[in-house]
C-alpha cells in the first residue's frame, strides 16, 4: 500500500510579515514574491516540457540508452535547487535532467548530452545518467543505485578539510535507502560532522517494487535516527514546502556542519524509464499520481490566488515550450564527438605504455 504524504507546515523561518511587493492576502502564498512564484512555475513547466521533448527524442532514436525522466517530480526538483547557493554542490542519481537545468545548466547543453554531442554537459561521454558541471556545482549524476552517497560524503569531507562554507546535497530515490553505501555514508557523515543533506525522493516505487515491499521502515526519514541525524518528511508535490524544508536543513548544515536527511514524498507520472510502460502499477496509483501533478496543481493555485491569470499562464507555458524546443535545436545542430578523441579521457596524468589499441589493431 502506498504511503500517504503529509504536508509540512509553511515556512517558519524568517519574518511572517509580508515583504514589499509580496502577496498580501492570507493563505499559503502569504509573504511570497509573485515574481518568484511565477519563476517557480516557469521552471517547473520548463522541466516538464524538456522531459516531454526528451521522451520524444528517445522514440525518434536521437537519444539512446536509458532515459529516466523527472515527470511528476518537478516541484521537488525546483524546491530543492532553490534551497542551494550556486556554489553548493549537488550529487544525484541517474534521474537528473531536471536537476541539471534547475542547478543552472543551459537546457541546450543538457539535451546535447542526451544526444551524445560534444556540446553536452559531459561532452557526450556520460549521457542521460552522467551529467556534470563544476561551474553549476553539479558533481555528477550516477547510474549505480547509491554509488553517489559515499562520494557526496567525501565531497563534504573535502569542504570541511579546507574550512569552506559550501553544503553538499545528495539526491537519491527511495529504493536506495536499503543498500549498504547509504548506511555506511550516513554513519560517516554523522561521525565526522560533515555538511551534507541527504535527500530521498520517495515516489514509492523502486523501479516496479513498492516502498513497503522493499523497506522494513517505509517512513524513510526515520532512518536518520539510527545515525543521530535530523530526519524530516515533506510533501514533494509542494514546491514551497520542499524549498522551505530544504533551506532549513541546508543552512543548518552550513552553520553546524551537521548532516541531515530529508524525505520528499512524490509521485512518478510515468514508468521508471522511458521504455517502461509501468504495467505493474494499479489504476488507483496512476490516478493518484495524476491528481497530484505538481505542475497542473501549482498553475491552478496561482490562478486561484490571483498571482497568474489564464493569459499569463499560457504565456509562461509558451516560453517554456520555446526554450525546450530551442534546446532540441541546439542539440540537433551540435557536432558528434570525433572517434579520434576516443583515448582522451582514460587518464588525467598520462603514463607510459597506456594502451591506445582499437579493436582490430594488433598489439605489436
Amino acid at each position: 500500500m502506498a504511503q500517504t504524504a503529509t504536508r509540512t507546515k509553511p515556512a517558519t523561518r524568517g519574518t511572517t510579515k509580508p515583504r514589499r511587493g509580496s502577496v498580501r492576502r492570507g493563505g499559503r502564498f502569504a509573504g511570497e514574491s509573485p515574481e518568484l512564484l511565477q519563476d517557480y512555475f516557469y521552471e517547473m513547466t520548463l522541466i516538464r516540457r524538456f522531459e516531454e521533448r526528451a521522451a520524444q527524442g528517445y522514440t525518434q532514436a536521437k537519444i539512446g540508452g536509458y532515459c529516466h525522466l523527472n515527470l511528476g517530480e518537478e516541484a521537488t526538483v525546483v524546491g530543492l535547487m532553490r534551497a542551494l547557493r550556486k556554489t553548493d554542490l549537488l550529487f544525484t542519481n541517474y534521474r537528473e535532467h531536471g536537476y541539471a537545468i534547475a542547478k543552472g545548466i543551459e537546457p541546450g547543453r543538457v539535451m546535447a548530452e542526451l544526444y551524445g554531442r560534444t556540446t553536452g554537459t559531459s561532452k557526450g561521454w556520460g549521457g542521460s545518467m552522467h551529467m556534470f558541471d563544476v561551474e553549476a556545482g553539479l558533481l555528477g549524476g550516477y547510474g549505480i543505485v547509491g554509488g553517489q552517497i559515499p562520494l557526496a560524503t567525501g565531497a563534504a569531507l573535502a569542504i570541511d578539510y579546507r574550512g569552506g562554507d559550501q553544503v553538499v546535497m545528495c539526491q537519491m530515490g527511495d529504493g536506495t535507502t536499503n543498500i549498504g553505501a547509504f548506511h555506511e555514508a550516513l554513519n560517516i557523515a554523522a561521525l565526522w560532522n560533515l555538511p551534507v543533506v541527504f535527500v530521498v525522493i520517495n515516489n514509492k516505487l523502486g523501479m516496479g517494487t513498492t516502498v513497503d515491499k522493499s523497506s522494513a521502515e517505509s517512513e524513510l526519514y526515520k532512518r536518520a535516527s539510527a545515525y543521530r541525524m535530523h530526519g524530516e518528511r515533506v510533501d514533494g508535490n509542494d514546491v514551497l514546502a520542499v524549498r522551505d524544508a530544504a533551506s532549513r536543513l541546508v543552512e543548518q548544515a552550513r552553520e553546524t556542519g551537521r548532516p541531515a536527511l530529508l524525505e520528499a514524498v512524490s509521485e512518478r507520472l510515468k514508468g521508471h524509464s522511458v521504455v517502461d510502460p509501468a504495467k505493474y502499477r494499479s489504476e488507483e496509483s496512476v490516478e493518484q499520481a495524476k491528481q497530484a501533478d505538481p505542475v497542473a496543481n501549482f498553475r491552478a493555485e496561482l490562478i486561484e490566488a490571483g498571482i497568474l491569470d489564464e493569459d499569463a499562464a499560457v504565456e509562461i507555458e509558451r516560453k517554456a515550450q520555446a526554450e525546450a524546443d530551442a534546446a532540441v535545436a541546439f542539440a540537433d545542430d551540435s557536432p558528434h564527438p570525433d572517434p579520434s578523441t576516443l583515448f582522451d579521457y582514460t587518464y588525467a596524468t598520462p603514463v607510459a605504455n597506456d594502451s591506445r589499441r582499437l579493436p582490430a589493431d594488433p598489439v605489436f
Partner: protein, 331 residues
C-alpha cells in the same frame, strides 16, 4: 644511501609527502591510534593529527567512496585498505566510480587517490585473507595498478602514485614488509607504466612482479652463482599500464621465458604476459613460455598445504631448468 625495510620506505614516503603537500591525508581502518595493522603509519597520527590521519569505521565501501569524493575536489587521499581481500567490499567505488569518473564526465574532474593495500599468502591466514586479486583491478581502464618489489621502488612508486592525478592501486605484499634494500638519499618519482630489467642476462627471461619479482631476482642470482646460467629478470612494477615492450625486447634477446606470479594461473597476469610474448616475440621463441603460479585452490590454512600451493624459489628454479633443457641450453 641507506639500507632500510620496505615497511620503512613506505612510512617515510607517506610522512614526507604529508609534509610537502597539505592536501595529502591518510584514511583507513586502524591507521591512527592503532598505528596500522602492519605499522606503516606508526607515529603519523601524533605528528599530523586527526584531520590528516583519519581512522574510519569498518565500512570499506563508505570510506573508500568518501576518499573518491574528496579526491574529486582536489584533495589527495591515501587510503589504507587493511588487506586487498577487503577491497572487494569497496569494489563498486573503485571500479564503477574511481576508475570511471574522469572518463564518463568528459575529463572535467579526476580522482587523485592512492589505495594502498597488501595481498598475498604464506601467513596461514586461510582462504579469504590470502588472495592475490590484483588482476581484478589491472583489468580496468581508468585505474593504475603498481606493485613494487624493493624498498627503493616502493618509495619511487609511492611518490609517483601520490602525485598522480588518477586513482592508483598500490599493491604491497605481506612477505615484503620486512625485506631490506638500498634506498638513495634522494629518490625521484618513478615513471608509472615502466617495467625494469633488474638483472640483465642472455640465457632466459624471468618475468615477475611484487613478491615474485623479488624471488625471481634471488633465483637468477643463485643460478648465476651455482650454474653459470645468465638469466635476465624483468620486474613489471606496473600491471596497468603494462610495459609489454620491455618484456618482448628481453624475450627477443634470450629466446625463452618463465613468468612467475603469486596469483592463480587461469586468466592470471601471466596469461596476459604470455599472450604479449606470442604477439611480439613469436619468431624468437625457442621453447614454449612457462608460467609458475599459485595452485588453483582457495588457499588452505594448514602449513604443508599452503606451502604446496604457493610458488617459491624452488618451483621457479625447476621451471627455469625445464625450459633451458627444452632449448638444449642447460649446462
Amino acid at each position: 644511501m641507506a639500507v632500510i625495510t620496505y615497511r620503512q620506505a613506505l612510512h617515510d614516503t607517506l610522512r614526507e609527502e604529508m609534509l610537502r603537500d597539505e592536501d595529502v591525508f591518510l584514511i583507513g581502518e586502524e591507521i591512527g591510534v592503532f598505528e596500522g595493522s602492519y605499522k606503516i603509519t606508526a607515529g603519523l597520527l601524533k605528528e599530523f593529527g586527526e584531520k590528516r590521519v583519519r581512522d574510519t569505521p569498518i565500512a570499506e565501501e563508505g570510506f573508500v567512496g568518501a576518499a573518491v569524493g574528496a579526491a574529486m575536489l582536489g584533495l589527495r587521499p591515501v587510503v589504507e585498505l587493511m588487506t586487498i581481500n577487503f577491497s572487494l567490499i569497496a569494489l563498486d567505488q573503485i571500479v564503477n566510480h574511481a576508475a570511471k569518473i574522469y572518463g564518463m564526465f568528459g575529463g572535467q574532474t579526476s580522482v587523485p587517490m592512492v589505495l594502498r593495500t597488501p595481498g598475498g599468502g604464506g601467513q596461514q591466514l586461510g582462504a579469504t585473507h590470502s588472495q592475490n586479486i590484483e588482476l581484478y583491478y589491472a583489468f580496468v581502464p581508468g585505474l593504475k595498478v603498481v606493485a613494487p618489489s624493493t624498498p627503493a621502488d616502493a618509495k619511487a612508486l609511492l611518490l609517483a602514485s601520490i602525485r598522480d592525478n588518477d586513482p592508483v592501486l598500490f599493491l604491497e605484499n605481506l612477505a615484503l614488509y620486512n625485506t631490506k634494500g638500498e634506498v638513495p638519499d634522494v629518490v625521484e618519482p618513478a615513471e608509472i607504466g615502466k617495467a625494469k630489467v633488474s638483472k640483465p642476462g642472455t640465457d632466459i627471461t624471468i618475468i615477475g612482479y611484487s613478491r615474485m619479482a623479488m624471488v625471481a631476482q634471488q633465483v637468477a642470482e643463485q643460478l648465476q652463482a651455482d650454474e653459470g646460467i645468465n638469466a635476465e629478470v624483468v620486474d613489471l612494477r606496473s600491471l596497468r599500464p603494462l610495459d609489454r615492450e620491455t618484456v618482448v625486447e628481453s624475450v627477443r634477446k634470450t629466446g625463452c621465458a618463465v613468468i612467475a606470479e603469486d596469483d592463480w594461473l587461469t586468466y592470471g597476469i601471466g596469461a596476459e604476459i604470455a599472450a604479449s610474448i606470442s604477439d611480439g616475440a613469436f619468431d624468437y621463441l625457442d621453447a614454449p613460455v612457462r608460467r609458475v603460479a599459485a595452485a588453483e585452490v582457495p588457499l588452505p590454512y594448514a602449513k604443508p598445504l599452503e606451502r604446496a600451493a604457493l610458488p617459491s624459489a624452488e618451483s621457479l628454479t625447476t621451471a627455469v631448468h625445464q625450459t633451458l633443457e627444452a632449448v638444449g641450453r642447460r649446462r
